[in-house]
């Protein structure tokens, strides 16, 4: 053996890599891997070891693909056992349950197994001297890491509840039963009430195309997360371009001053509610629905979540767009719907744009973990401090 420091076991390296790629693993899982190796699993070939890693450390198809890709990148080609010595260990027979022996009669290697990692031919480049790691030939493993993850969306949306009792009567109401018993004086059947259900409905309107095009993969992820994990009675998802409404009456804008960036505050009471416009059911924006109908169906006494950059992506301030938005908000208020806005652009870039102005009138939050929670809190009815509520 040379004087080089002992290399760390390559499975530990793999474990750290898998952890770094987002799989939730702990020391227990590494111990389970060692236990499985002691039990004799995974020694037959590199493929068997690969399957073992996938079975123990991955908990979904996506994670399994990650684990297998990282394993392949390590480039384990020869997974051999040197001379092994059989140790005779008393095997606890199933009949004697008191026997304490728990070690399986497996061939235990006397020395550590040699793993020959053949370095790939790199076309004349000098070999890189870290740990003998063979260069991965399978290409790069790219994983998206968005500011807002599936789990965080699920945890936030789970707080949106409007419980009511509906359905078959399956739960025992103890107080009512006792009260009925006292009233009647004789034992009677128990009083059952239906289970609590979540009647919260959420209408999600997502801005699409144009300045929102860079955020499409991120928003697709977030919308899928809301739809799959929210546990609400109903989640409706629609797409719009720039602004859900169009054609609001802009005569009132004549009363504004001639500033480059006029505030709408003076004419705010004059803006009429407006809900004419077209929104789309699909991501390609090919199946239109009139906004007014959708609002009547989904938003009455419900919650509306709007995800849009509101001009912050390009840094523009458009008075007409702000006017349309305020008219839309007034209509939502007339329908007794709570609304919250989420902006994928960070808060620092909102000032001087339409988004900054909308944030003065309505609760608008950046699209990250805290923003999502605050938005759902706003939809639950929590008070949000606004400069000029509509």
């Amino acid at each position: 053996m040379s004087d080089a420091p002992p290399r760390e076991f390559f499975l530990w390296r793999l474990f750290c890599l898998v952890r770094g790629h987002g799989c939730a693993l702990g020391v227990d899982d590494y111990e389970a891997m060692r236990l499985a190796l002691r039990a004799g699993f995974g020694w037959a070939s590199p493929t068997a070891l690969r399957n073992l890693c996938g079975a123990l450390w991955a908990k979904s198809r996506q994670e399994r693909a990650i684990v297998e890709a990282l394993f392949d990148e390590l480039g384990v080609e020869h997974w051999t056992l040197p001379d092994v010595e059989r140790r005779t260990i008393e095997v606890a027979s199933p009949a004697s349950t008191k026997a304490p022996s728990s070690v399986r009669a497996v061939e235990l290697p006397r020395t550590a197994p040699t793993v020959r990692e053949t370095p790939k031919k790199g076309g004349g480049l000098p070999s890189v001297p870290f740990g003998g790691l063979a260069g991965g030939a399978s290409g790069m493993l790219l994983l998206p890491q968005y500011p807002l993850r599936y789990r965080e969306v699920a945890q936030a949306c789970r707080r949106l509840r409007r419980t009511f009792r509906d359905g078959p009567r399956t739960e025992l109401d103890v107080d009512a039963t006792i009260e009925a018993r006292c009233r009647r004086g004789v034992a009677g059947p128990p009083v059952l009430v239906p289970r609590r259900r979540n009647a919260a409905r959420l209408l999600v309107l997502v801005d699409r195309e144009g300045s929102m095009a860079p955020f499409h993969p991120f928003l697709n992820d977030v919308c899928d997360a809301i739809q799959r994990s929210a546990g609400l009675a109903r989640v409706s998802l629609f797409y719009f371009r720039n602004c859900p409404t169009s054609g609001a009456d802009d005569v009132v804008l004549d009363a504004l001053s001639d500033d480059l960036e006029p505030l709408l505050d003076p004419i705010l009471p004059l803006i009429a509610p407006h809900d004419e416009g077209t929104i789309f059911e699909d991501r390609q924006m090919l199946q239109p629905r009139p906004l007014a109908t959708v609002l009547e169906e989904e938003a009455v006494s419900g919650s509306v979540l709007l995800i849009t950059d509101a001009g912050a992506a390009r840094g523009r301030y458009d008075v007409t767009r702000l006017l349309e938005t305020v008219a839309f908000m007034k209509r939502l208020r007339a329908l007794d719907a709570r609304h919250a806005w989420l902006n994928p652009v960070p808060r620092e870039r909102w000032s001087g744009t339409t988004a900054g102005h909308i944030a003065r009138y309505a609760p608008m939050f950046p699209l990250d973990r805290w923003g999502m929670r605050n938005a759902i809190d706003a939809l639950r009815g929590a008070r949000v401090r606004l400069e000029r509520p509509v």
């Binding site: 227990d28 236990l35 039990a39 079975a55 908990k59 199933p94 399986r104 034992a187």
Partner: protein, 332 residues
Amino acid sequence: MTRHRIDITPPLTEEAFFGQEVRQIEDTQKGSVSPENPPTREVAREPYLPDNKLLEAVNLAIALGRPLLLQGDPGCGKTRLAFAVAYALGLPLEECHVKSTARAQDLLYTYDAVNRLYDAQLGDKAPRDAAGNPTSSDPSNYVRLGPLGRAIVRAHHGRRSVVLIDEVDKADLDFPNDLLWELDRLEFQVAECPSMRYSAGDDPSMRPILFVTHNEEKALPTAFLRRCVYHYIELDEDPERLKQILLLHEVKDEKLALKAAEVLKRLRALDLTKKPSLSELIDWAGYLSAMNVAPEDLDTVPYRGALLKQAEDLQVVESAFGASSATGLRRP
């Protein structure tokens, strides 16, 4: 606690799945578990052809004492695996089909408080047990064990069982979270009757074997996933392999089985919203075999209602294979 000890019973092999046609295995239909000499019943063999990766995963789960989490398309054989493994090992199978109203505690035991209240009110007319005491004085008379509870009690008495928790994602999110302690330690205590404590003991070979199937409708909590060994059951479209599986079921004709497998492969290559799965193939081939359909007739995909369940898919298949010649009437 036996989590960190390996079960040293010999691993399962494929031959174990092809034993005798019928075996005598302990009866699980009764609500209680007798300490010794349990009643047995005849259990028919479950036709199942596992592949090597699946066998490795099952052996790994048994050796480490962790539940095996199975995912896969509907109809690929997740639930039937538990039946097949229970038969192969000659162990009783406890099934738990989870509903959306399920609570984790029902898996261990249910306590009938209402009946106890009624019996307590009856006074002289109350039912009495063998010793002459009224049954309402002893809460253990009103405790009914659930599937996992029975398995742990059986392990307490020194016998092993297999537990199937089917479609675990149908229940609330609290359901898997409430099971974590019991799955870790395999012991429980009835809260209403503290004298009833059961534990699976220290012997790793007595640990109940757990199968958990998951339909991927909801995401499971990571604390639960961490304790499981994971396996995804893929459908192997190789016609030879599917032919072997069909021969295990009621399809007698080898040529018919092979042709049915090839037709399935062609159907799955089309752009369908719901591709036909293995269980639908088995049903379809079984019907074709019973109707004595010739293998050449399968090119028109007769009786396609058994394979395709959506109107759009039927249209796609009609444009690819032509209209079906079979009307569903029995041939003379």
